[in-house]
């Protein structure tokens, strides 16, 4: 049994259920309790649902301290870029605490960060900056593309004993999808085959999964069978599922909204080049954002970003197909 809800509601559902299940789960953010009618505030009260000032560094650091003391804070940061203000806290403090203390402490906390508001929000609010965090030791990074995964990964994130950076995509917030009823968790480090196929493996990350699925659907009408894989978490990253798919399809295209050299695509390309080279019949192709800030103006914004057409061109090139007229 399942129910259909938007991506954002699925995330909220996970947080609510985990707060019901475990009193140690706390919820912090700058607009957390704007009115007394706020559903979280009403249900869980002002001790557990707390408004924070515009102080990302202190918000995340404070959550670290509470986590060390046994609580499980969820910090709502709104735009992912705002946590860049607190980069030290995200990268170099709580994330290293467990290791450097010989495991004496652990830091079970979740940082929720929205990314990719590519609807004219311009240079400082549209980045797909998740790639910057996938090489941070001690930090797990979740990147859901569907409501069901969003709920399941949030559940897992809250239950995990490590700091988790949970990236939600702004353009997907209202997208509806089926979410399993009852308790629902999705394991970290397990990719999901979103569409089975035999001619080529297409890996999307976060929002780009949607782009990949659209391209696969269009290509299917031309008789091209594309397998679409969603890693779902990028730290840990499930390379095996991708390798076994490539072993069958022998072709790999990667789609990622991040800038090329800060993309998950670049990491996957390197892994497959090293571990799956003999499977490949064509070069790996990365369809990413250009290495540029994202412009405000629509035509320039679109120019920088990957889209269905760019993916289809890359698939055609990989398979040696003549480009379809568009």
């Amino acid at each position: 049994m399942s129910h259909v809800i938007p991506y954002i509601a699925a995330i909220q559902e996970a947080i609510r259920e985990e707060m019901e299940r475990d009193e140690r789960v706390l919820y912090f953010g700058q607009n957390m309790a704007t009115s007394p009618e706020d559903p979280f505030l009403k249900q869980f009260g002002p001790d557990r649902v707390r408004v924070t000032p515009i102080s990302e560094t202190a918000e995340i650091g404070m959550a670290t301290g509470a986590a060390v003391a046994g609580y499980r804070p969820v910090v709502e940061l709104y735009m992912a870029e705002f946590l860049l203000v607190a980069t030290d806290q995200v990268v170099n403090e709580g994330t290293r605490f467990h290791f450097m203390s010989k495991g004496q402490v652990s830091v079970p906390m979740v940082m929720v960060a929205g990314y990719g508001f590519t609807a004219g929000w311009a240079g400082q609010h549209t980045g797909s900056i998740y790639g910057m965090f996938m090489g941070v030791p001690g930090l797990k990074v979740a990147l859901p593309s569907t409501p069901a995964d969003a709920k399941g990964l949030m559940t897992t994130a809250i239950r995990d004993d490590n700091p988790v950076l949970f990236f939600q995509n702004y353009l997907l917030l209202l997208d509806e999808g089926e979410v399993p009823d009852g308790e629902h968790s999705v394991p970290f480090g397990v990719a999901d085959v979103k569409r089975a196929g035999s001619d080529l493996t297409l890996v999307g990350t976060g929002y780009a999964v949607r782009t990949a699925l659209k391209a696969a659907e269009t290509l299917a009408r031309r008789g091209v069978s594309v397998e679409v894989i969603d890693p779902r978490t990028i730290a840990p990253l499930d390379v095996d599922t991708i390798l076994s798919s490539v072993a069958r399809t022998r072709h790999l295209v990667l789609v990622d909204q991040a800038t090329r050299h800060s993309s998950v695509a670049a990491v996957i390309a390197a892994e497959v080049a090293e571990l799956g080279f003999s499977s490949l019949e064509a070069p790996i192709s990365m369809v990413t954002a250009l290495d540029s800030s994202i412009a405000y103006s629509k035509p320039v914004e679109e120019f920088v970003l990957p889209d269905e057409h760019k993916v289809i061109r890359a698939v055609e090139a990989s398979l040696g197909l003549a480009p379809a007229s568009t």
């Binding site: 700058q30 607009n31 309790a33 704007t34 009115s35 009618e37 408004v51 924070t52 000032p53 515009i54 102080s55 560094t57 202190a58 870029e81 705002f82 860049l84 203000v85 609807a119 004219g120 929000w121 311009a122 240079g123 400082q124 609010h125 250009l290 290495d291 540029s292 800030s293 412009a295 405000y296 103006s297 629509k298 035509p299 320039v300 679109e302 120019f303 920088v304």
Partner: protein, 331 residues
């Protein structure tokens, strides 16, 4: 340049001419933003639109006293600051419409307006992100032997950031000519100030750093003008940093289309009675400077200028989709 930044106005007390200039500037901002709202709602303007309706006295009282080589840094709520500093209205609107003739070629948009020629060194979408830029500008001016003050606008919400304290401390330590102008509208997005801090006044934060500070009625343009004039005179004379807190109120949402639920707690009606434009007209009447007819004329001129800006912006093409290499890195 009606109501825009003047070449070297000096910082004398307000007179009839000065009051008229402030009136014209406030009307230009008001008329621009009142037109911007429907343009945004009909998607002619895209991205995020933050209006400053009700807060015009701060932008006008401050920016009209600055020279072009005295830079202003702004935040996400930038339209008023930009217009008052002399940014061309048509080029500003073209930017907000993402057009090629925008002051940043449509690449920056509403939170990233920059116009170096008029000393408008830009907005930022990250709260507090550019506070220290102003200290750097002021330092450079000191090193160049010019003592041209830099001004940075910020909201009451920004005062809770770490970068704020770091910046004020540095400005104080080096005694550089910078004026921090806080627009305290009592809200950060949808959250009242009382939920973010127990500090009553942003100006209270200056004392421990030994930075001079004043809190003024930010809806009284004459008062903003007078106190900022003093701060500017001091800063130009090498007197170091100053923090000016302007108590004000935004009469519309955090951004156009915000959910607005929190506004039940907002005393819009009381604040409407303190509308900065009406206040100035009443003061001018009492002082014998001008009457409401003059205000109507200023309003009409502003609305005409806005319509011309709309025509200009609509007539401007969208920029070519490419990213010129010279914009990725400076050469």
């Amino acid at each position: 340049m009606p109501g825009g930044a003047a070449a070297d106005p000096g910082s004398q007390a307000l007179d009839a001419g000065g009051a008229e200039r402030l009136l014209a500037t406030m009307w230009r901002i008001r008329a621009f933003e009142e037109r911007l709202e429907p343009l945004k709602r009909s998607s002619m303007v895209h991205g995020l639109t933050h209006l400053s309706i009700g807060q015009e006295a701060v932008a006008a009282g401050v920016c009209t006293q600055l020279r072009d080589d005295e830079p202003v840094y702004s935040n996400h709520r930038a339209n008023g600051h930009a217009l008052a500093k002399g940014v061309d209205m048509g080029r500003l609107l073209a930017e907000l419409m993402g057009r090629a003739d925008g002051c940043c070629r449509g690449l920056g948009g509403s939170m990233h307006v920059v116009d170096v020629a008029h000393g408008f060194l830009g907005a930022t979408g990250v709260v507090g992100g550019n506070l220290p830029f102003a200290v750097g500008s002021a330092l450079a001016s000191r090193l160049l032997g010019r003592e041209r003050p830099a001004v940075v606008f910020f909201g009451d919400g920004a005062a809770q950031t770490g970068i704020f304290a770091e910046t004020v401390n540095l400005a104080s330590l080096w005694q550089v000519p910078v004026v921090f102008v806080c627009e305290n509208n009592g809200f950060a997005e949808f959250t009242p100030r009382s939920a973010h801090t127990r500090v009553e006044r942003v100006s209270d934060l200056a004392a421990p750093f030994r930075v001079a500070a004043r809190t003024v009625d930010g809806n009284d343009v004459a008062e903003v003008h007078r106190v900022f004039a003093d701060a500017l005179t001091q800063a130009r004379a090498g007197g170091g940093p100053f923090l000016l807190e302007c108590l004000t109120h935004r009469l519309s949402g955090h951004y156009v289309g915000d959910p607005g639920g929190y506004r039940a707690a907002v005393e819009d009606e009381a604040w409407r009675a303190r509308d900065p434009i009406g206040r100035l007209v009443r003061q001018a009447d009492a002082a014998g400077w001008f009457d409401v007819e003059r205000s109507r004329a200023a309003e009409e001129a502003a609305r005409d200028e806005v319509e011309a800006a709309v025509a200009f912006a609509l007539g401007s093409p969208f920029p070519d989709p490419g990213i010129p290499a010279e914009l990725t890195y400076a050469r």
